[in-house]
């Protein structure tokens, strides 16, 4: 049986880890700067921790809030919680007290796991390092292996909370089968091999990195965990130590690597199979620089959301320029488009539709939030806010978020197209294009721009250059220079703050 066929028979990630712990027990599962755990060791620790949790009264479906420590203990704890039948609720490493309280209360959590105790302390607490304390013996391992086999696809595995810059966070429920399907999407999207060793230097509390971890574990391959890329000496030392062949990044981490160690990154071109990116759009300048530094490496940009993960992948280093393209849907995912009247349409470049997804990666819904669930689904598909269309080759092209697309005198302008053109002008570091109200046309484009160090461009200079790159109606009416674009931690531009 091939690895892929095996993956198709799995119902949960812990079942896959149990499988590999028997098949390839000495293969590296996960390493961090302090320790390395093989599949055999990882399953014994997860089984031991699950056994401890069950003995201490944790029951099927109980919610366990788990604060990210970005190391092997976090991986073992996540697997142990899910093996015990409980539901893991990841929290960011640098989470604010108010958010811990909000999430513990809204999920009715019974246990809080973290590197350090939470001072408020009404809830039962454990140190996350306890997940590494107890290796299960053979008898417990055998019982836990059987338990892992019995976990159904429909079992709630985790609740992922959106970071939410405004208002209350949304808790997205993921079942065991959803995690398997997303992991398959990634394995297919990047053509992951069993021998791959992937560096994950971005937060495991966030769906993007967590799912890369799951993909590696479904595939029986290896991951190396790091807390960020800013300390590049350590990054490359760890890459060397574990002979890394792939890297998972978000745009903000990519930007740091490009700034701090472009030459060192480039020296890895013949050793890397691929770099995968996702979670936010990558600035065109960074994409181009990465292609220049790693000409022989596959460079993937993933499209997806926590609700419907990793549905499209595009290798943007194959020599073909495809503006605004997000790639082809992976096998698990099928897309459809809705018009402004809420009915299905055949979307085209002239008449884009709202993109929606169908497939086993789709969340069953938000935790205890029927109102939001009604907004999330349309005819059984998960509806996005993205305006897009699919061409005859199956490639999907995205114009932008529904609220971000600029309707200028009835014609739609993709802010990304304006930004890509502006970003290509020498001296411009990055830009954000947003709608500005206009009495005559309804909306017109407005451009915020950040200059590179030492550059000296005025709005008028940019206007002149853009007229050679874009149709006249797409050239912004207003130009505003700012020091830094407002962004979320993973590099997504916070357009609302610019409108």
């Amino acid at each position: 049986m091939t690895d892929t066929q095996k993956g198709a028979n799995m119902h949960s990630i812990i079942q896959a880890v149990a499988h590999w712990s028997a098949q390839t027990p000495d293969t590296l599962c996960a390493a961090d700067s302090r320790r390395a755990l093989t599949y055999g060791e990882m399953f014994r620790l997860a089984a031991g921790f699950a056994d401890d949790l069950i003995s201490s009264g944790i029951r099927e479906g109980d919610r366990v809030v788990l604060r990210n420590s970005q190391d092997t203990a976090y991986v073992a704890a996540t697997l142990g919680i899910q093996l015990a039948g409980a539901v893991s609720v990841p929290l960011e490493k640098n989470v604010a007290e108010a958010r811990i309280r909000e999430i513990c209360e809204s999920t009715d959590a019974v246990l809080y796991l973290a590197a350090r105790p939470w001072e408020e302390g009404k809830l039962r607490q454990m140190k996350i390092s306890e997940a590494l304390q107890h290796e299960a013996d053979d008898a417990v391992c055998a019982a836990m292996r059987e338990r892992a086999e019995q976990i159904p696809e429909g079992k709630m595995a985790e609740i992922l909370f959106s970071t939410g810059t405004t208002g209350k966070s949304k808790g997205i429920v993921l079942q065991s089968g959803n995690n398997i399907a997303v992991a398959q999407n990634i394995i297919e999207g990047v053509e992951m091999k069993k021998e791959n060793v992937e560096l994950i230097p971005i937060p495991l509390s966030h769906s993007h990195a967590l799912r890369t971890l799951y993909a590696a574990m479904l595939n029986g391959s290896s991951v190396v965990l790091m807390d960020g890329v800013v300390f590049v000496a350590k990054v490359f030392a760890l890459m060397e130590k574990y002979q890394v062949t792939a890297i998972d990044l978000v745009p903000a981490a990519l930007a740091m690597l490009l700034k701090l160690a472009p030459d060192q990154l480039s020296s890895w071109d013949d050793r890397l199979d691929y770099v995968e990116l996702g979670s936010a759009p990558i600035p065109e300048g960074d994409k181009a620089m990465l292609c220049r530094l790693l000409p022989g490496t596959r460079l993937y940009n993933f499209y997806g959301s926590t609700e419907s993960g990793r549905t499209c992948a595009l290798n943007f280093n194959d020599g073909v320029v495809r503006r605004a393209c997000i790639g082809k849907p992976v096998s698990n995912a099928s897309c459809e488009f809705f018009g402004s009247d809420g009915k299905r349409i055949e979307a085209s470049a002239e008449h884009p539709g709202v993109l929606a997804w169908r497939g086993p990666m789709n969340t069953p819904g938000y935790f205890h939030d029927e109102e939001k669930n009604r907004e999330l689904f349309r005819d059984g598909s998960i509806i996005t806010q993205d305006l897009a269309y699919q061409d005859e080759d199956g490639m999907i092209y995205m114009l932008g978020r529904q609220g971000d697309v600029i309707t200028c005198g009835g014609t739609k302008i993709a802010p990304t197209e304006v930004e890509e053109a502006a970003d290509s002008i020498p001296g411009i570091a990055e830009t954000a294009c947003v709608p500005e109200a206009d009495e005559m046309l309804g909306q017109v484009p407005k451009l915020y721009y950040v200059l590179e160090d030492g550059a000296n461009l005025t709005g008028q200079d940019i206007d002149e250059k853009l007229r050679g790159l874009l149709e006249g109606y797409k050239v912004p009416r207003t130009f505003v220079q700012i020091d830094r674009l407002p962004k979320t931690y993973n590099g997504k531009i916070q357009r609302n703050k610019l409108k």
């Binding site: 890329v229 800013v230 300390f231 590049v232 000496a233």
Partner: protein, 74 residues
Amino acid sequence: MDELENVLRTAVPKVKDWRTSQNYLEDGVIDSIDIISMVSEISDHYDIDIPSEEMEAENFCSLQSIYDMIQRIL
């Protein structure tokens, strides 16, 4: 040291006190994006390139450790 403090103030204006903490990252005084701003400002001000082998957490944990790193590079 006063000069360096002014450079860091320019790089990360939100931080008012650079002297109390001896572990900026652990204490949540700065994050990784702030370090990028600090690297840019230090490079410009002292006209140096911080080599990647100096990009270690220990070199960015206090005013003294940053000062020592700059002295090594100058």
